[in-house]
């Protein structure tokens, strides 16, 4: 069940992500859970603390505690910033000190609608054409897909590290780090 998107929006978004970072001989955005990353971001404030900043200092993947799983609290102004970014100014005077702000929730709601309710069913070439037409919105989804695929799994994407494995990237490495030999040798 998506956190913030409707089921229909989630299906459209999943199909879009699969075109932006397709699966080839290695996993793509569908396998990595990019739509879950984006849905989690849009619904970040549905949990407390909001899922904006993972904790630290280690993830547990290379030793140490699983600190990334405990998300950090936001300060007063940080919460204001992230609510502006995600929810938009939405009529709140304290969010409009430099004018109205359109949040990601609105951009996704409108953008996914613009791709068409049949987006998940049409051919790939047609999907690509609609994504190209959606210009700025597609650029936003792509940025989020990249974060989903190659960011830490605690944010909801990069499921089981498939994004990192596909590109031979170790991800976070504390507390192990790299030995001097690994640093200096080919």
């Amino acid at each position: 069940m998506p956190v913030w998107l409707t089921d229909a929006e989630y299906r459209t978004l999943s199909a879009a992500c699969a075109r932006l970072i397709p699966t080839d001989e290695t996993p793509g955005a569908s396998d990595g859970g990019a739509a879950d990353y984006i849905d989690g971001l849009l619904g970040a404030f549905s949990v407390d603390p909001p899922r904006i900043w993972a904790g630290g200092p280690t993830s547990g993947r290379h030793g140490g505690a699983r600190g990334f799983e405990g998300f950090l609290t936001l300060g007063r102004l940080e919460e204001l910033a992230w609510r502006m970014r995600i929810e938009g100014s939405d009529g709140h005077p304290e969010r409009q000190f430099n004018g109205p702000v359109t949040g990601w929730q609105q951009r996704y709601r409108d953008g996914l609608a613009s791709l068409g309710s049949d987006f998940a069913q049409v051919e790939g070439a047609e999907q690509d054409e609609r994504l190209r037409s959606a210009g700025d919105f597609t650029a936003l989804v792509y940025e989020h897909c990249c974060e989903a695929m190659y960011g830490a799994p605690e944010y909801g994407g990069n499921r089981d590290g498939v994004g990192w494995d596909a590109i031979g990237y170790a991800g976070d490495v504390q507390p192990r780090g790299w030995t001097d030999t690994e640093v200096s040798s080919p």
Binding site: E143, I167, G177
Partner: protein
């Protein structure tokens, strides 16, 4: 409440000043507008553990601040752009406890002797305001040495043939050289350059109660998860452990309160939005070369030079794509540098003469590579090619770069002032940067990039390119007017020091000419930008300024904190 000194800003300058003042027995209140992700202010040996190897958090979600929605800045290349051409993230240095020290990759070179006497050494340049500093390298050397001890610097004092004299060795030997840097340093030597192990504020051995760096690679733009980096953590811990310092995070200094020629306190806005005044016998301003002039302007300080002569480093970035993996994600981000482009040799003089300039200088060249896959991914196109590009990785695994931190000449027209219309979340005017490079920087960049391209040919690079920051119209990397905003986080010069109160904002000890008990302790006071990162120099100057404020010229005055 009243304290001996309010220190505005908890970055390297503010932390250094706080440590000196506490040693002298002063009570100090450090106010920091950003969040505290570093330590428990009441039990400073307890580190909060918020820093991590997390690209999403640090690089894409504004973890260290400032968030451009809450605290935007504005930019314009000149008045022809109108009020501003860019609103949002402009030249941001972290707004967090520890300031710019938290995100810096820890390269901490000293300046050279002639950097403090640029006008005497090389002469004036039309259109620029080239001056000597009111102090010499020899006067600052003991403070450089103390700064290196306080933050912990690893280096080899015999490795750089062009280095200024030093009174002793670095506190630590250099750490492990990165594989890519061993290749680029060898190639650079073959073409006649002089690369050396970069003086680095990252522990190569356990130092001062902090562990040795374990090469995780998350240096630039990240807080160090194990506190092996010489960010201001050690200075803040010592100051707070004395019991004479307090740290107020999420506390914004909105105005210095004055009576006549003296400050009586600082008006602050607390985390909950309430406003109060902290009474103080002295005020140390260390907000950085953008926020410091902003605070002084918000305080009504009226000086014709305040905010002017904004300098950044004109960055020339030569990059080469290799046919094999350089694994730049392992190690301290940059382990080698060379100084050859800082020298004004005959070739540089000829390049200057051909351009009608008396001289040109480049800057320190850093050897390093990119390490972050999300940032890489965003640069590739979406669609079927995305995955194959990420696997072959010409822009991460196989990319190496030389970044020259080119000297930027002071120009009065390059400045920080208050934006006429854009506000921060507190309703206060934000800083506006007006900046365009002098022809000197463009000529120096064009001249010195040739040697860097030559090194890549020697390395066997399969593709080579050069971009600059700020961008130059018509050159690679220019993507329209927003490219004119410099990306360098090295900002300097907006409250320059000097002996003449008409042509400088502060005296040689950082004291405001117009307010007897207010000292500026950051890179705002720089007279020239040199071709070196500003951190170590601003820390040395802050130690000297705070020592003078406390009535001593001895940087070790008071000994260790009990």
């Amino acid at each position: 409440m009243t304290t001996d000194a309010v220190v505005v800003g908890s970055g390297p300058g503010g932390a250094a000043a706080a440590e000196v003042l506490v040693r002298a027995g002063w009570t100090v209140t450090i106010v920091e507008k950003g969040r505290n992700h570093l330590l428990d202010p009441t039990a400073p040996e307890h580190l909060l553990g918020h820093f991590s190897n997390d690209e999403v958090k640090f690089f894409h979600r504004h973890f260290l601040g400032p968030d451009p929605l809450i605290e935007p800045r504005t930019f314009r290349a000149g008045p022809a752009d109108g009020e501003h051409s860019l609103v949002g993230e402009v030249n941001s240095i972290p707004s967090t406890v520890g300031g710019g020290g938290v995100h810096a990759d820890g390269k901490v070179p000293r300046f050279r002797q002639e950097d403090f006497a640029l006008r005497t050494t090389f002469g004036p340049v039309d259109g620029a305001w080239v001056e000597d500093w009111p102090l010499r390298y020899d006067e600052l050397e003991p403070y450089y040495a103390e700064a290196e001890r306080l933050i912990g610097v690893a280096g080899d004092d015999s490795a750089n043939p062009f280095a200024a004299w030093r009174s002793g060795p670095y506190p630590m030997p250099p750490g492990a050289p990165m594989y890519g840097a061993t290749l680029s340093a060898e190639a650079a030597r073959r073409v006649g350059l002089h690369p050396y192990a970069a003086p680095t504020a990252a522990n190569s051995i356990p130092y001062d109660g902090r562990p040795a760096c374990n090469n995780c690679g998350f240096c630039a733009f990240f807080g160090c998860p194990i506190h092996a980096k010489g960010d201001p953590v050690a200075m803040l811990q010592r100051a707070l452990a004395s019991g004479r310092a307090e740290l107020l995070a999420e506390t914004f200094a909105a105005r210095i309160v004055t009576r006549g020629r003296r400050a009586t306190g600082v008006e602050v806005v607390a985390a909950d939005g309430t406003t109060s005044v902290i009474g103080a016998k002295s005020v140390v301003v260390a907000g950085g070369a953008v926020e410091t002039p902003r605070l002084l302007l918000l305080s009504g300080l009226d000086h014709p030079v305040l905010g002017r002569n904004l300098m950044v480093h004109f960055q020339t970035i030569a990059f080469g794509v290799m046919d094999h993996d350089l694994h730049a994600e392992r190690g301290r981000a940059v382990t080698h540098v060379h100084d050859d482009a800082v020298l004004v040799d005959e070739a540089a003089r000829q390049a200057a003469r051909r351009a009608g300039l008396p001289w040109v200088r480049g800057g320190l060249v850093e050897h390093g590579g990119p390490a972050l896959p999300v940032a890489e991914a965003k640069r590739y196109p979406w669609g079927p090619k995305h995955k194959s590009l990420m696997r072959s990785s010409p822009m991460r695994k196989r990319l190496w770069a030389f970044t020259m931190q080119g000297e930027d000449l002071a120009q009065p027209t390059n400045r920080v002032d208050l934006d006429p219309s854009v506000r921060d979340a507190r309703g206060l005017p934000v800083a506006r940067l007006t900046y365009a490079p002098h022809r000197h920087e463009l000529v120096a960049s064009a001249h010195h990039r040739r040697a860097l391209v030559e090194v890549f040919a020697e390395m066997g690079a399969v593709g080579v390119g050069v971009v600059t920051s700020p961008g130059v119209p018509g050159e690679l990397g220019w993507e329209g007017p927003s490219s004119a905003a410099p990306q360098s986080h090295h900002v300097m010069g907006t409250a320059r020091m000097g002996t003449d109160p008409r042509t400088s904002v502060v005296d040689g000890f950082g004291r405001l000419h117009g307010l007897d008990n207010v000292v500026v302790a950051d890179s705002s006071v720089f007279v020239t930008s040199a071709g070196y990162g500003p951190t170590l120099t601003l820390v040395a100057l802050a130690l000297r300024a705070a020592s003078a404020l406390a009535g001593s010229s001895d940087p070790l005055q008071g000994g260790a904190v009990e």
